[in-house]
Point group: C4
């Protein structure tokens, strides 16, 4: 279990690496992982976290670009360098025991909306697609997506996010940076990412049309 | 005819499942079926309706994600769970005997325009592409696309739509939700969906440029 | 030469059909041929014109969807039905002896700009991409793209276009309808279509930003 | 080494041609090389520069469309015609010894922003994606992208750019024309191009929303 070379041949890690490579291709096709931005992870049955290596393009991942870390974000292979943001993935897995996959992407819509919104959240209301998120059964409730200030100190950023778990059905956004979204497995996480990005694209279009601030 | 397992091997259902899978891929390529949104159906020669199963992503359908229901939306296999919106498909088939395929998609344009429009319809005028719709032979007539309030009670929503059949050459839109479009076969339904979405994209662009309300 | 069935096996028609199918796929990938819109043609060495059949989707053409017409737009096979707009293609070939391919597409940008522009032309200036058009060697000249009112009477529309040949380096636009672009072969025609659509996309974006009319 | 025909079989040129073809396909998929716009180059280990031939579409390059020039932009094969802008590539390689690949693309965002900006630069600030550029370790610094007036006299244009080397971490933009971006190898150059285009898309969206000039 401590030997990532042997582990790589085990079923669950292979499956996770396959799912992560495919998720990266999908996110790239929608232009949500520009340059080397974004990161993607899965929780393995034994509790390890499979996550993309730092610095590679998420649209062209190879299975060897997926490494494993423990719940505190430490790589099992000391030669591996995980992304600094690995801690944010670990936090989601620690706080949400049913979560099996976490996605972090950078879209134009999430970047721009989070930079111009003056309040601390974006509010979604009256969209049928809201029903893709946990606990939502109707379009006519409001969903709140919290916005956090960007910070190169990821532990400090995680501290800001910590109190919001349990009240983020659609994930959260770091200003000027991107979204964090999760699901019980990669398919659900991808569906929710698509749902959130669709809703953000709608919000951005409406603000452009209406010239009003969302928070007002 | 009552055994969906045997039926699945029959020609018409196989053809319908193939057409539905392909239509889902096409709609996904244009980003019209985010998350698990949208649904797609065909009428079989024996009157059954082949329709996508609830909850799956329309861009990654497998043929087994296509199930059959009767004209009242009841699945032939009691283990199958059709989408709640199956009733809206059944309504189109009941009211329009020549229709062979129905598409429901969620685009940014249809969602946003339907949420900001204050009147009960969008009006299309002077577009050459209008000629793709039934009975339209020129660009210089007006086509009206009715807007209905979204409702989680689908039977009630169907009741609102009911009086408009015969006066919806381009389909209809549920506010904040998406479009319903149909055709004599899947190719025609897809062409009309593309035509309508193109026209909605033009409308949205014009409103952005002109800062005027469409209904005014 | 009068037998289209035998002709179909000849080299030039096969090549033209191949080029037309590929051009349709390319235009579809950019969403410039929604529904069954658009048409595509090549001039054959013997003077016949190979053109898309009426009513099919240009993104999914098969070689048998390409038919031949004479210089007056009459099909060589009386069973074939060419698009009504075939006359506009024939006009380009008649007036421009060096032209080998004509493309007609419907983009959101050309549709919207042509509907809101109050003067009779769009003017392009200071764009490097202008150099793709005949006789243009610098960005700092102005190119004029004439706008014609849409008309279901294609012969009358052709009459409106007629005086402008020789002064349309980038093609022309029918209001609410789309662009006509040509080149010595399909590759050049496609490059010019891309160039024009790129410039129209820039114009549309600038108008959105600046809130000014182009003609002013 | 002086025989490009023999050289073509050598490893480094083959690799460069492969990388250039792939980069062109990628840029085309994002619509950054309309018509025959753009050019792409690599530095070979022996100092020659492999660059795209003049006049071909960058999305459909064949390996034979890649030619070699010396550091002054002269083709090794006198029958080859390099693009006039080859000099701008050579300048980057001369001034930046660690650079292995240069990309020049034409996007709608870079074209439009560079034409409407009244100051001599675009400023990027508070975007996480800024970290993709040389020497950037945080989002909260400002990056400046210089804007140069377009000029058909490329030597004169190069003279304008010359003083800015060392202060262009994200590349530069020629007004109404496009971006120049570079990296130690093609993968890094492509990642930076994606990063810059992402940031320009964000700027353009913000200007549209806010109706303010960037330079103000």
């Amino acid at each position: 279990m401590d030997n990532p070379v042997l582990d790589r041949r085990s079923g669950p890690l292979e499956q996770a690496a396959h799912d992560i490579v495919r998720a990266g291709q999908r996110m790239d096709a929608r232009a949500w992982v520009p340059a080397t931005a974004g990161n993607i992870s899965c929780r393995l049955p034994d509790g390890r976290i499979a996550i993309t290596r730092s610095g590679c393009h998420k649209g062209f991942l190879r299975e060897q670009d997926v490494i494993t870390v423990d719940g505190a974000g430490r790589p099992h292979d000391p030669g591996h360098r995980p992304s600094a943001e690995t801690l944010l993935h670990c936090q989601v897995y620690r706080r949400m025991p049913d979560v099996g996959a976490v996605l972090h992407g950078h879209s134009v819509a999430s970047t721009v909306l989070s930079m111009i919104e003056k309040t601390n959240a974006l509010t979604l209301r009256d969209y049928e697609v809201q029903k893709v998120f946990d606990g939502q059964t109707t379009h006519d409730a409001a969903i709140t997506v919290p916005l956090f200030a960007n910070d190169q100190d990821i532990a400090r950023l995680a501290g800001e996010v910590e109190p919001y778990f349990g009240a983020m059905p659609a994930g959260y956004i770091i200003r000027g940076h991107g979204v964090y979204v999760w699901g019980r497995d990669m398919d659900q996480a991808l569906a929710r990412l698509e749902g959130l990005e669709f809703l953000l694209a709608c919000l951005l279009q409406r603000r452009t049309l209406e010239g009003r601030t969302l928070g007002a």
